[in-house]
Amino acid sequence: MKFDKEFFNLGYLDRLSYKNTFIHNIDARVKVIGAVFYIIAVVSFPKYAVLSLVPFFSFQIFFMILGEIPVDFVFKRVFVVSPFIFFIAIFNPFLDRNTAFYLLGIPISYGILSFLSILVKFVLTVSIIIILISTTSFAGLCYAIRYFKVPEIFVNQLLFMYRYIFVLTEEAMRMVRAKELRSFNNKGLELKFYVKLAGNLLIRSLNRAERIYYAMLSRGYNGNMPYIKKKKLNFSDFLFILIMLLTIYLFRFFEPVDRIGKLMIGVIR
């Protein structure tokens, strides 16, 4: 069932982020900066670039190995996601039929190139985010964006919501299960049942918000939220970001694929 799977994935990602590896121990701020530059570099490639994007996969490979993230998990998450992007990209081969080059006698059109380019960019940008999330605790991430001057109310909202997503999805899951046990052949998925389910969930949520508020008050809440204590960046953080940014720069502007390919062909000849 879809619901259980989504719920499981969310919890699994959370658990992954509490491992203790080299990548996990890198400061969240550094990782956020790295991810942002990575994504901008990937997206800034021209629309027909396919092969020059390939070296960027090496980041994923290293992070997955060093961070001990299961490869199949990341792959599944990437390929399950977003029919929307496929829906938009699939038009390119039909709309842009000019031949770019012949590969072993088969004409490859610009449309196919840009279609492939969108898909490769999609896989790269999505998987780097999944890796970022599964190697960084959510509290650490929130601390990082707070450090980058994102308004406090928004960061509090993220922390608060994240904490209660697990509680409320569990509650919703119980309700959905109870309903499914009482209905057969996929019945009971109609709107009027949905409204009652969601309405009930909303009532429970509002009740819970009130209880939480009083619980917070009784523990001395005065409108301020406590944060993780500030950490200083250490040597490995600096080394990490330096190497990452340098490699991104090289991959973006020095066309390593083309160079290595030409070199090897030259050597063989």
Binding site: K47, T125, I133, F154, M161, V167, G199, I203, S205
Partner: protein
């Protein structure tokens, strides 16, 4: 209708990041001015609620396929515009990070498309005036949700178009997106209304105690101010977008036609066009670049927009890409085995 990183250009992504962060900062400031402490847990819980409610599927009438709610207007009605903008932005952030819905760079676009129009356009300018004193709230909900979604869908098209990555013609894309989102909007509107109605009839005291007084926070002054802010933002967006489009002549012409075409200042239009033309000539890298036409190639690239890809370089490219991957895999394998030995 989440935008994805792979579909947008860095310029569009960064631009909308700026706009959305501005929206968050503005809402945060407004919320802080008269913060009700109770709002903090309430916002958090309602964000989690929308998340949980999105995970429950229902069958869409007449199609048989399943869908889930967006929840933007529900939040606006329960929390008011500022808080709902923050909550929606936080939901979209978590979706982008954990469910890979959209992407990190596209997050700015997504917040703009799905949160801004609902919280700052549809709710104060459409829902509030129609649903005065509790009358016509059904109509108000449907109309405001539909309009918010139409605006969102349209700006997805605009963002995709200005990024220049998809080949879909502007008009076709609009014709695809708007009708689909009309249907989605009506269903979302009905559900939003029904859920609030359900809670209001079964447990009216809850709405009163937890969210009751937030509904009347808007007054006339606010609306006027908001229209002004929106007007300025539109100008900025238009300006930024046409700036981005400066190396895309079609987009430029389109935007100028759209923004200034119907205006009554023809000389101004001319003036702007000339400025942009100048910028375009300066910014385009190879204005008179002609491709070497090799005899082997049967088709000549249609226009300057195609980079020169010939057989030789692409073959060495494939070879190189394969080698790079091989090298990384090997290094990765070595690291892995070394790690295992250490353990």
């Amino acid at each position: 209708m989440h935008m994805a990183d792979a579909l947008i250009s860095p310029a569009v992504g960064v631009g909308f990041w700026g706009l959305s962060l501005g929206g968050i900062a503005y809402s945060a400031k407004k919320l802080k001015e008269n913060l009700d402490e109770k709002m903090v847990p309430l916002m958090g819980i309602l964000g989690a609620f929308v998340f949980a409610a999105q995970m429950i599927n229902f069958t869409i009438p007449a199609t048989g396929s399943s869908g889930h709610i967006g929840g933007g207007m529900l939040l606006s009605i329960l929390l008011g515009p500022y808080a709902s903008f923050i909550v929606m932005a936080s939901i979209l952030t978590v979706q982008a990070l954990f469910f890979a819905d959209g992407g990190f760079l596209a997050l700015g676009c997504n917040i703009w498309n799905l949160a801004f129009y609902t919280s700052f356009i549809a709710y104060p300018l459409i829902y509030k005036p129609i649903a005065r004193k509790g009358k016509f709230s059904f109509l108000a909900t449907i109309v405001s949700v539909v309009i918010a979604l139409q605006l969102g869908a349209f700006s997805v098209v605009v963002q995709t178009y200005f990024s220049g990555i998809s080949e879909l013609p502007f008009k076709t894309f609009v014709m695809l997106m708007q009708p689909i989102h009309l249907g989605i909007g009506i269903i979302e509107g009905v559900i939003t209304y029904a859920i609030i109605k359900y809670v209001a009839t079964t447990k009216p005291e809850i709405l009163e105690s937890s969210v009751g007084n937030k509904q009347n926070k808007l007054n006339g002054v606010y609306t006027k101010k908001l229209v002004l802010v929106f007007f300025i933002l539109t100008l900025i967006t238009g300006g930024i977008l046409s700036w981005f489009a400066s190396n895309n002549p079609d987009g430029l012409e389109w935007s100028i036609e759209k923004i200034y075409g119907k205006s009554e200042l023809p000389e101004k239009e001319h003036f702007l066009k000339n400025i942009f033309k100048g910028i375009q000539e300066k910014t385009s890298l190879f204005p008179d670049y002609t491709f070497k036409k090799s005899e082997k190639q049967e088709t000549i690239p249609e226009e300057e927009r195609y980079p020169n890809i010939d057989m030789g370089t692409s073959l060495s490219g494939i070879f190189g890409a394969f080698l790079v991957l091989l090298i990384t895999f090997l290094t990765g394998y070595v690291i892995k085995t070394l790690k295992k030995k250490n353990l």
